[in-house]
């Protein structure tokens, strides 16, 4: 360890304290909501629940889990996330592999088209909606899956990863008489496990978070995804009837809202839970995240 001057030591101490402060700010909302979700109505209503639950009860979790539309939305979202992630990764990988071949004619053209498409976006809300409608995909999950089946950013990441694989390995396969697909599946993909794992996790989290697209394209209540369901719960009652000035209804409303707060907190945490559960695995791949960002165009 190098020796530090007085001013450097002072800087370090201040910096460490400041960083601790940031960590607390990052964690506070989540810890607070955990406490709220476990507290009794009266404790929440009195505004005393901060970091530690008061009057511990599991009633709000019970309510959330027993709620049929929550269970349905959760099931839909799990299914959708699995299918969407699988399709997106499979299509993106397969598309990226030929592009990693330097002698492929038209490779430049395709890369230019991809970058162009990234720069210009996809034309806005209504042109996309009309397209989905004309393809009769409204109210199906295909409207959420197919448009993003090729993730251009990930194409670039996969492509640069495949390019790093020594050609001699593929060459060996070729001598054994293996076709392009066999080489891709038997040699290239097993060597690409880390990047596949990383992008699968990132893609799954993105799929789990799908909100806007689901809001527009999948209006049926029984097909609702979790994020849309959560938004409905959160928006309910945001403008209290207290605005109307009726004292009695004000009290009623307060009682209802306290209960609602614990319920909302429980619902929020249940929506976060899968992401929190895989976060430790995601963490392993922050380096891959670095790679994603550092590839330019």
């Amino acid at each position: 360890m190098k020796r530090m001057t007085k001013s450097e030591q002072a800087f370090n101490i201040v910096n460490n304290i400041f960083m601790a402060f940031i960590v607390i700010i990052m964690l506070y909302p989540i810890v607070n909501q955990i406490a709220i979700s476990l507290s009794s109505d009266s404790a929440i209503l009195s505004g005393k629940v901060n970091l530690i639950p008061k009057g511990i009860t599991l009633i709000s979790y019970k309510n959330v889990i027993m709620d049929k539309s929550f269970a349905n939305a959760f099931k839909n979202t799990v299914l959708y996330t699995i299918v969407c992630t699988f399709i997106q990764i499979a299509f993106t990988m397969t598309f990226a592999y030929p592009l990693s071949k330097k002698n492929l004619k038209g490779r430049r053209l395709i890369m230019t088209l991809l970058v162009f498409s990234m720069m210009f976006g996809t034309g806005g809300l209504i042109p996309n909606y009309l397209l989905i409608k004309n393809m009769h995909m409204v109210d199906t999950y295909w409207a959420l899956i197919l448009p993003g089946a090729i993730n251009i950013w990930n194409v670039i990441v996969f492509k640069s990863f495949f390019q790093q694989i020594p050609e001699s390995l593929e060459e060996a396969g070729k001598i054994d008489g293996a076709g392009v697909w066999t080489i891709f599946i038997k040699i290239v993909l097993p060597l690409s496990k880390p990047v596949i794992a990383a992008l699968t996790l990132f893609t799954a989290i993105a799929a789990w978070s799908t909100f806007f697209q689901a809001l527009i394209y999948v209006p049926s209540p029984d097909k609702k995804l979790l994020q849309v369901y959560l938004n409905d719960i959160l928006q309910a009652n945001i403008i209290p009837s207290a605005q109307q000035g009726d004292v009695l209804s004000n009290a009623m409303d307060n009682a209802e809202r306290a209960n609602g707060d614990a319920l909302k907190a429980a619902c929020l945490l249940c929506t976060m839970l899968p992401v929190m559960a895989i976060y430790p695995f995601v963490q392993k791949y922050f380096m891959a995240g670095l790679m994603i960002g550092s590839v330019k165009g």
Binding site: N12, T92, G124, I150, Q227, Y279
Partner: protein, 314 residues
């Protein structure tokens, strides 16, 4: 290794094109599904943008609807809403740029200065977490924390000796709230590229500076910042290019009918006009305006960066 590859490339070129196609056909078949998807879902909608110049009628369809030239753009620029939304969009974007983007740079510098390895890892792990939560969840946390019976609001109200109120229903708090929410969600993850760039700076530079008697601030100013200048410029360009896109989700989850004067931005307005009122041509005109401005901004700032001697984005 390298030489054999080059030789191979050369012989490849000499091969007849018939052989080339025979060898490469499987690769093109692999490209095909992706290309079809990209053409349908990324390029067809660009053509569909022409709806902005038509009087789109759902029953007559795209090709039968009459052309109306710039009618919808005229209506757009004459509406009062437009200037309100433009202002909100720009205010939120600029606040994000100042607080989240430059905040990330400062945060990255401070993380980089943490001496203990474990502590550094902890700070990073915790501050990256919110990035992985959806905007509905983050919006939900904000709604809950700012509701009138939350501990936070009660404590502050008690301290100031006023009655607790629901902050999300008050116009004057909307911009600060949305900026803080964005900071909470993105400031940690935003450091990742800067930290990567900083890890590439040679420790010898710092040693040399210390020998010359440079303090922490001078080291940061003369070594760290120049070391991440390139990535800073690229990121700044990308940010400025997206200045008209304030994300739909974050505004949508935090807005309510009481504060629409400050809480309506292009994306949310577009949603209401397009999907709410099915005014498709008007909504497309709005999208068209947004895309065009973005494109011009990226182009102009790319030129400026190149004039200043930086490598641009395009």
């Amino acid at each position: 290794m390298k030489k054999t590859r080059e030789e191979k490339l050369k012989t490849e070129k000499k091969k007849t094109s018939a052989l080339y196609w025979k060898n490469m056909r499987p690769y093109y078949l692999m490209l095909l599904p992706g290309l079809i998807l990209i053409i349908i879902f990324r390029f067809c909608p660009l053509y569909g943008m022409l709806v902005a110049f038509k009087d789109y009628d759902m029953f007559r369809g795209f090709s039968e609807s009459p052309w109306v030239g710039l009618k919808w753009f005229r209506i757009l620029f004459e509406s009062r809403d437009f200037y309100n939304i433009l202002r909100n969009t720009l205010v939120i974007s600029f606040l994000d740029l100042i607080f989240t983007f430059f905040g990330s740079i400062v945060f990255a510098i401070l993380i980089n200065e943490i001496q203990g390895r474990r502590y550094k890892k902890l700070v990073q792990t915790v501050s990256y977490l919110p990035h992985f939560l959806s905007w509905v969840v983050v919006g939900g946390l904000v709604i809950q924390l700012l509701s009138s019976d939350s501990f936070l609001v009660r404590s502050v109200a008690d301290m100031l000796n006023i009655a607790p109120k629901n902050i999300l229903l008050e116009q004057q708090y909307f911009f600060p709230v949305i900026v803080v929410a964005e900071m909470w969600k993105s400031i940690g993850w935003g450091t990742i590229l800067f930290l990567a760039a900083m890890s590439g700076i040679s420790p010898e530079l710092y040693e040399a500076a210390r020998v010359d008697g440079a303090g922490k601030f001078k080291q940061i100013w003369y070594i760290t910042l120049p070391g991440i200048k390139f990535i800073m410029v690229i990121q700044l360009l990308m940010r400025i290019g997206g200045i008209m896109n304030v994300g739909f989700e974050k505004v949508f989850v935090l807005q309510n009918s009481m504060i629409l004067d400050v809480a309506e931005v292009f994306s949310t307005y577009n949603y209401k006009v397009g999907i709410g009122q099915w005014n498709m041509s008007f909504s497309s005109a709005l999208s068209f305006f947004e895309s065009l401005t973005n494109f011009i901004l990226v182009f102009v700032f790319d030129r400026i960066a190149k004039l200043l001697g930086e490598e641009g984005l395009l």
